[in-house]
């Protein structure tokens, strides 16, 4: 009886090892393909944002000789550049912490990974809070009041939606790391999450320039 159980154990162990090797081979063979798919997804998002950004640039140059435009006899105020600069630093900082989170995962430093991942999620949530504050205090006439407000709320709202999805994505990835979905060699989800988060940061660089500095 005990010999049979031992044999079964050996068989199961051998089977598990075989499965693990098979998974590793499949992972390595398909990793580049999945990565290319994810990069193409990011490119499609670039196209989406570009269409709105070029529409804004066109409207800005064709509708009014001065910007922000005059509405009801008064020129609209500029957006709060100083506050947006702080909020931008918060988002860019989260990009750096996400990069360090991934690097620490690659080097099997799980404690530091947890620290940087937590910081990234916290900074992302802080950025969203800052955006909400700005929406509540921006005196540019709301989404339907004029073309400046419509462009601002549409583009930054779309970006904010991406940040929100990104925060949820990172939380899901963090839970997956706790459940042992990834190891030191197989962590495609974390790579994709990092690329997505960097992408969201870079879109904000463009929006920050267009709406606050131009």
């Amino acid at each position: 009886m005990s010999v049979s159980v031992a044999k079964q154990g050996i068989k199961l162990g051998h089977h598990d090892e075989h499965d693990s090797n098979h998974d590793q081979i499949i992972y390595e063979e398909t990793r580049d393909m999945r990565l290319m798919g994810f990069v193409l997804f990011l490119v499609s998002d670039v196209v989406l944002f570009s269409s709105y950004i070029f529409a804004y640039i066109y409207l800005r140059n064709s509708i009014s000789p001065i910007w922000p435009p005059v509405v009801g006899g008064h020129q609209l105020p500029r957006l709060d550049t100083a506050f947006a600069a702080v909020n931008s630093v918060v988002l860019f900082g989260s990009g750096v912490t996400m990069h360090y989170a991934l690097e620490n995962w690659k080097h099997a430093n799980k404690r530091r990974f947890d620290l940087f991942m937590g910081l990234t999620i916290l900074l992302g949530a802080m950025f969203l809070g800052g955006q909400a504050y700005e929406y509540a205090h921006a005196q540019i006439g709301g989404w339907s009041g004029n073309i400046f407000g419509a462009s601002f709320f549409t583009l930054t709202g779309m970006h904010g939606g991406h940040v929100f999805v990104g925060v949820c994505f990172l939380i899901a990835l963090w839970i997956q790391t706790k459940r042992g979905v990834y190891d030191d060699h197989r962590f495609f989800g974390l790579t994709a999450g990092t690329l997505y988060w960097h992408f969201v940061d870079v879109i904000w660089v463009v929006l920050f320039f267009l709406f606050y500095l131009w």
Binding site: V39, Q75, L76, F83, V89, G95, V96, Y212
Partner: protein, 71 residues
Amino acid sequence: MEALSGPEKIIAAIGALIVGYFAIVSLRGEWHKTGLDDQVTKVLLGLMALGCVLVLFAAAGVLPRPGGGPA
């Protein structure tokens, strides 16, 4: 020009210097890597560093140029 007036601009400037420094250090760390994800990361980290430069310009009052509506 409204250079570094108010605590928000000072915080933004210091934050941009710190984040920009770490973005460039991260970029240097990625420089020798050749995978597709590494190449994309290099571009994105470089643009993030550019974003920090823009924040510094904003904090220093170089941008936005004067002429818009009241702040």
